[in-house]
């Protein structure tokens, strides 16, 4: 099959999945209903090049390992189509028993190139990799660790977003649930999805 088409198909699946997830999340977590997402907005912000201002790119299996991101949302500049703001998303599934997400491999991509990617990036764990990646771009690229909740509690989605994880990573080089929850304790870092979008997307 056409490799690029394959990527695009995968991309749509991921975006579709994430929009369902986001919907669940919004329904579940935004009882104050501050965000007022129209169905349009929701598809735009997670869809593939749906409009001239938002897009979502799903990473290839190799990129997931090299960059640590599962997909990247971007707010685009109208004229140049260059990203103005990016959010690189790393999805962390919380199994019932906690396991560290390091060195996970997408199940469909157990291939030679995946091994090479792993070798290429073996000096960092996957959380450090996404933080490094975003830091290499600059402050307009945010890392979002998105916890999808436990298998039997799908509504339990939460995440933490920052463009400055690299500052924390020096002190505590392992990012795990405890690390993330530490962020939740400081209210400065706590965002509803609406707060998150409002905080980082300039008008």
């Amino acid at each position: 099959m056409d490799g690029k088409m394959n990527t695009i198909v995968r991309l749509c699946e991921v975006c579709w999945l994430s929009s369902i997830r986001t919907q669940e999340y919004l329904l579940f977590k935004d009882p104050e209903d501050k965000f007022h997402p129209s169905p349009d907005v929701l598809t735009q912000s997670v869809g593939l090049n749906i409009t001239d201002t938002f897009n979502c790119t799903a990473m290839t299996p190799e990129q997931r390992i090299l960059l640590g991101a599962d997909w990247v949302w971007a707010v685009l500049e109208k004229n140049t189509k260059n990203p103005r703001i990016q959010i690189a998303v790393q999805v962390l599934h919380l199994p019932d028993k906690e396991t560290v997400e390091e060195n996970r491999v997408p199940s469909d991509a157990c291939s030679e190139s995946v091994q090479i990617a792993q070798k290429e990036s073996s000096n960092k764990n996957i959380h450090e990799r996404i933080v490094d990646f975003c830091a290499s771009i600059g402050k307009d690229c945010y890392t979002l660790f998105l916890f999808m909740g436990k298998k039997n509690d799908k509504g339990n989605i939460y995440g933490v977003l920052s463009n400055n994880f690299e500052a924390a990573i020096g002190k505590c080089n392992k990012i795990d649930r405890a690390f993330i929850e530490n962020f939740f304790k400081g209210s400065r870092y706590l965002h509803t999805p609406s707060g998150m979008m409002q905080a980082i997307i300039p008008n």
């Binding site: 056409d2 490799g3 690029k4 990527t7 190799e62 990129q63 960059l67 260059n82 290499s136 771009i137």
Partner: protein, 219 residues
């Protein structure tokens, strides 16, 4: 070249079975067609949809030359400026570059000089470069003549092809030429530097990228 035969990963199972590993990079402005070019070469496919590459990506392809299996690690870099830090980190250890511009885009041609400077700054001295003027199927929209492409290549000391990922023109030839250049360079340095014939020549050539240690797949 024969002297490098010892440094190989033979006998460990299918995919590790190769004589040489070459790391190649494709660079150039955004939208010139780097990803399309690699897709055409590796998967023989093309799509007109544009999904701008995020950061970096790569593919692996094995080619044969004089009964030798050469594994190509082909790194597809993002052309957008914001990814420059991450992409230049991958220049180190690259043995060959395809520097691409778009014959319908003057700006991308104007940037070739800068890209060439990036190669000089971040890669090793012996890296080979082929300049590729892509989208040569779009003759009506051409703004960069074949001659100016060829002239610039000469000035920079690069080989030159006009290519089309869409119509599959000179794609394979570009990669094959780059591989030839690297092989030539390799035998050249083996001739002039007897030390490498007794040492670990592959290490010299791939800059700490010997064949993979682990042949098996862990998942």
């Amino acid at each position: 070249m024969a002297a490098t035969q010892d440094a190989k990963g033979k006998g460990e199972g299918g995919d590790q079975n190769f004589d040489y590993m070459f790391k190649l990079l494709i660079i150039g402005n955004s939208s010139v067609g780097k990803t399309s070019f690699l897709f055409r070469y590796a998967d023989d496919a093309f799509t007109s949809a544009f999904v701008s590459t995020v950061g970096i990506d790569f593919k692996v392809k094995t080619v044969y030359k004089n009964d030798k299996r050469i594994k190509l690690q082909i790194w597809d870099t993002a052309g957008q400026e914001r990814y420059r830090t991450i992409t230049t980190a991958y220049y180190r250890g690259a043995m060959g570059f395809i520097l691409m511009y778009d014959i319908t885009n003057e700006e991308s041609f104007g940037a070739v000089q800068d890209w060439s400077t990036q190669i000089k700054t971040y890669s090793w001295d012996n890296a080979q470069v082929v300049l590729a003027g892509n989208k040569c199927d779009m003759e009506e929209e051409r703004v960069v003549s074949v001659d100016s492409g060829r002239l610039l290549a000469e000035q920079l000391g690069f080989e030159f092809f006009e290519t089309s990922a869409k119509d599959n023109i000179n794609v394979k030839q570009t990669f094959e030429r780059l591989v030839d250049l690297i092989c030539d360079k390799m035998s050249e340095s083996l001739d002039t530097d007897p030390a490498v014939t007794t040492g670990a020549p592959t290490a010299k050539l791939t800059d700490s990228a010997p064949p993979l240690q682990q042949p098996g797949c862990n998942c």
